[in-house]
């Protein structure tokens, strides 16, 4: 792997000077702050009064059985879902009122992949870069970083599920936001892919990224995780792994 994650990540234009208050907000604020977040789907209460404070730069693994609500929580933090009750902040920005600010600092690697089958890998990444407002970026390096250089200009429709996952990872590396939300990133990856992901996560940690990852691969992630959280019965607690 020739390109390091830092090389892959696109550059963002320098931020305009912000008001002192909000600058202080983002510097001092925890990466994730959940204050009594509840989410109900119809009659089912999937998340109940979650309270969490996750400091910036930490890596946490989220475990829980299928249907426990891990995906729901991640999508909520990505502002894709609105909570039924409660407030949440990402780097000090309110999820509901300052959704745009939150989305600038967050990326979600979802189970489905989020790729367009009728576009090539390169085109998918180009779209991601444009929609994220990146200034300078190297798509070739991003694809090389996840081993997809040979199929860069092939339609994603022809990809295996493992390759689609790698593409999702490439997107994450390209955007390289402060908070990474990952939903079962190891699933569908072959051994080489899993090792790649290990390296990516270790590098992310050393770069100070905050990572919340839903996963069943507890042994692998134990190496760089600061904590293991468990979601069960709609409640969140720290797990002694």
């Amino acid at each position: 792997m020739s390109a390091t994650p830092a090389d892959i990540a696109g550059e963002r234009p320098a931020p305009e000077p912000r008001g002192a208050a909000s600058a202080r907000a983002s510097e001092a604020a925890p990466a994730i702050e959940l204050s009594g977040i509840s989410k109900r789907f119809g009659r089912e209460m999937v998340l109940r009064e979650l309270r969490l404070e996750m400091a910036a730069g930490r890596v946490a693994v989220l475990k829980g059985s299928n249907g426990a609500g891990k995906t729901t929580l991640l999508r909520l933090l990505a502002t894709r879902l609105r909570p039924t009750r409660g407030r949440a902040r990402v780097f000090g920005y309110d999820l509901q009122r300052q959704g745009d600010e939150v989305r600038r600092r967050v990326a979600l690697v979802s189970v489905l992949g989020g790729n367009y089958p009728v576009l090539t890998a390169r085109e998918n990444l180009k779209l991601a870069a444009t929609l994220s407002g990146l200034a300078g970026y190297d798509l070739g390096a991003a694809l090389a970083g996840v081993g997809l250089e040979p199929v860069a200009d092939t339609l994603v429709r022809t990809f295996s599920s493992g390759m689609k996952k790698r593409l999702g990872l490439a997107r994450l590396l390209l955007l390289d936001p402060p908070l990474w939300l990952m939903d079962e990133p190891y699933a569908a990856l072959d051994e080489a892919g899993k090792n790649l992901l290990d390296d990516v996560l270790a590098a992310a940690r050393s770069r100070g990224r905050t990572v919340l990852m839903a996963s069943h691969e507890l042994e692998r992630s134990a190496r760089f995780a600061d904590a293991v959280l468990e979601l069960a019965g709609g409640s969140l607690r720290r797990s002694e792994s």
């Binding site: 390091t4 830092a6 090389d7 990540a9 550059e11 963002r12 234009p13 320098a14 931020p15 305009e16 983002s26 510097e27 990466a31 910036a56 730069g57 999508r75 990505a78 502002t79 894709r80 879902l81 609105r82 780097f91 745009d100 600010e101 989305r103 600038r104 600092r105 967050v106 990326a107 979600l108 979802s110 189970v111 489905l112 992949g113 989020g114 790729n115 367009y116 089958p117 009728v118 576009l119 085109e123 779209l127 991601a128 444009t130 929609l131 994220s132 407002g133 990146l134 200034a135 339609l155 689609k164 390289d176 936001p177 402060p178 908070l179 770069r207 100070g208 990224r209 905050t210």
Partner: protein, 243 residues
């Protein structure tokens, strides 16, 4: 390291600006059109459906040549209305696979930009379809374009835009609710009646069934409709795609 060293917040996310938003709109529209160029799913469906409509209606009314000629504008725009439904529905359907639509909403672009991008693609597509179908209809139905040829592009642009705005808006709604596709025309048609009427009346003037001055009034209604719904739908689109 080529990139500047980054702490969690030092990287500084990109600031939203109008230029970025416009780039996003164009990128989304480009993506939609590119997808269509490759898969041709919508092209096949709409061309086929429109052709069938035109031909079947012609058979149904073919006895009377005068009746046929007079009904050309009406049949044309009804076919375009249905084409609008197919186009808009498909533009969201293909995004739903593999969670691409979800991903689209995770970027720091305003929701309105997603709407505008899809609207642009749908509208361009419908306008081109209309451009193809108009002469075909005229020939098939024995109608001839009169002297007020300026009516053609104006009507096409305004009419297809009206259909595209409402269709795209409601298609997003039905897609987000995972409703049956049949719901889209049910929701949409009572809203676009003014577009249908305006476009048909104006097209009648084109083929000499109406005087151009009257058509002007209908075109104003069309323009007003387009403007009001464009603004309204763009403003409330974000409510339609949230969960």
């Amino acid at each position: 390291m080529s990139a500047a060293p980054r702490g969690p917040q030092a990287a500084g996310p990109p600031d939203g600006s109008a230029a970025t938003d416009l780039a996003a709109v164009l990128a989304i529209a480009r993506k939609d059109l590119l997808q269509e160029a490759r898969s041709r799913a919508v092209t096949v469906a709409t061309l086929f459906f429109s052709a069938v409509t035109l031909v079947m209606m012609a058979f149904a009314m073919g006895q009377d040549a005068e009746l046929l000629r007079r009904s050309a504008p009406g049949v044309l725009w009804v076919a375009l209305a249905f084409a609008g439904v197919i186009t808009a529905a498909q533009s969201f359907q293909s995004d739903l696979e593999e969670g691409a639509f979800d991903q689209l909403l995770l970027y720091p672009v305003p929701r309105a930009s997603v709407f505008l991008g899809k609207l642009l693609a749908n509208w361009l597509y419908l306008a081109v379809l209309g451009l193809i179908m108009t002469p075909v209809t005229l020939v098939l139905y024995g109608a001839h374009a009169g002297s007020d040829l300026w009516l053609l592009p104006v009507t096409l642009v305004l009419g297809t835009f009206g259909f595209a705005v409402v269709a795209t808006f409601y298609a997003a709604l039905t897609a987000n609710l995972q409703a049956r596709e049949a719901l889209l025309p049910v929701l949409m048609f009572p809203v676009v009646v003014p577009v249908l009427l305006g476009a048909v009346r104006s097209s009648e003037a084109l083929v000499g069934l109406q005087n151009a001055a009257l058509a002007g009034g209908w075109l104003q209604l069309l323009a007003g409709f387009d403007l009001v719904y464009f603004v309204t739908c763009t403003a409330i689109f974000h409510l339609v795609v949230e969960e």
